[in-house]
Amino acid sequence: MFTYTLRRLLLAIPTLLFISLIIFLLLDLAPGDPTANLPLTIPPEVKAKIRESLGLGQPIHIRYLLWLKQFLIAEPLHVMDYMFGTDWAMGMQRVISWQTRSPVADIIAQRMPQTLWVVGLSYVIGTLIALPIGIISAYRQYSWFDQIGTFVSMIGYSVPTFFTGVLLIVIFAVNLGWFPSIYDTTHVVTDWDSFLFQVRQMVMPVFVLALYNAAQISRYMRASMLDNLGQDYVRTARAKGMSEKVVVLIHVLRNSMIPVVTVIALGVPTIFGGAIITEQVFKVNGLGQLLITSIYANDIPMVQTLTFIFAVLIVLFNLVADILYGILDPRIRYD
């Protein structure tokens, strides 16, 4: 397993380099000019200078290599310097956002907590709700519980989050006034009351996303359980006199979790993608919103970095999913 992991990690390097190149080329192809948003009063010569200072004059392969150097060497060194108080980076040029002129990494670090809290929490909650629902729905297939579960999942899965989000805002924020309609990111939790406020402002975005996640995962769980409940080994377990609890929650569940865990692991990178739409609806200024505003502003370094981080996470969690598969299923041996 260890050598397998190592091999996969090594293999990930060329994959990611290739992805980074593609991202770079695609963004280069995209129309748009980072100076387009500057006031018209700025003379064209000055604009040209600004463009040059952004490094746009150079040929594309130089720019790509420069970006790689900044991203892979300068940024990690700066992070180390920040963490350990060293001075390894020695003023090396970092990846700078065109829009804000500050290092891309700093902005991402600022936005990360909001996304992790709201989107991450909703993923955890969604998963925790989905598993028991999937298990019970499968065990009591076609019961009223299963029928309702199926109905709710279909809604959760097919109705877009911008609709459920707005619907919740209209009902619970505007009409009932229970929850704030806008997520206040400057809010700091200091005491019990401010904690309660934090919980209240998280309820709606978390609910919207959790519903969506739960809908998806519970379907997988149900299908996987149904697959396994009909297997011969289940009859064997019953023939051994095992209680229904043991049969379902040990024999069947252990087998059913194998594909579901993979699906859950593969879904983790989407957390970091930030549920782009939901963050917009509730004005959570997380990574998803950052990506959108950067795209609007033609902030290519920021878009590049974010996209590349997503790519890294996707490759990484694909590996995680495969490793988990190998751990959970004894029939799979990678070495």
Binding site: Y233, M242, N255, L328, R331
Partner: protein, 334 residues
Amino acid sequence: MPDGGMPVLDVKDLKTVFLTRSGEVHAVNSVSFDLKAGELLGVVGESGSGKSVTMMSLIGLLPSPPAEVRDGSVLFNGEDLLAVKEERLRELRGARIGFVFQDPMTSLNPVFTVGYQIMEPLRKHMGLNRAEARVRACELLELVGIPDAKRRLGDYPHQFSGGMRQRVMIAIALACDPDVLIADEPTTALDVTIQAQILELMKELRQRLGMAVIWITHDLGVIAGIADRVIVMYGGQIVEQAPVKELFANPQHPYTRALLKTIPHITGARDEKLSVIEGQPPILADPPVACAFRARCLHRFDRCDRENPKRRGVGPSHDAACFWDPATGTPRNA
């Protein structure tokens, strides 16, 4: 081995129905038989004749719905299994009554070690702790002839061959030293040499442990070698029942006679081709009111269409459910 003692298992008038979308399927119709301590009872009949459903009905192993055990009684050491609580059935299953199923490739749980799966009933029914259960599991693997037992306890089912997995299944079924072992076509999925080995193993285990065995098969050849007594099933009913020698020497039911003809002979005159029984076994949407075999029977006459024959004595501890008498070639009277 069979003696005149009280039967361990006494099944009377068992009826099992499946409630399906397209209506009821009467899979088991008034089946009665008994099993004496230490006896090996063979159950034969072609695929779909209700052998598995009958045995699973005994001990509540059929999923309900769709299955419904409608009627009858199943006395196991005097206790009616159709009347007791589910919890009591669970105490008996795997402890007093062991099961071996047809397909060893799918009957074991792929994600647990073989040791774990053998230890499960030991810990539940015999209250052994982990260490004791391990020791016993190791003994069981040795008992069923798996070499290097101690090490193999930690292996997963996929690391065993089909024959070895069936041995593991037998070890699980015998774990708690049951009174009855029900083996549902345990060799059907195995190739011929492995089949012979498993049969040998069963004969030997029965000598050693002395449990009663119900051996289900569609292969009369297998039965001839090991059974004390045989019941023949057709259309969810028992159509003939006799000690094994008697059955082979003096088959009474046309279905049994046809089955016997389908066994290929190794010695003696070679048949032109293997006999087959023409037609399909019935799927019964209603309880039978006429003989279930009549559509395929060579000796059918008007009474077969009006009345479902009951089993009645036709020889020493031999009974058959047929109106036709092969000795005279005419209908039986009464």
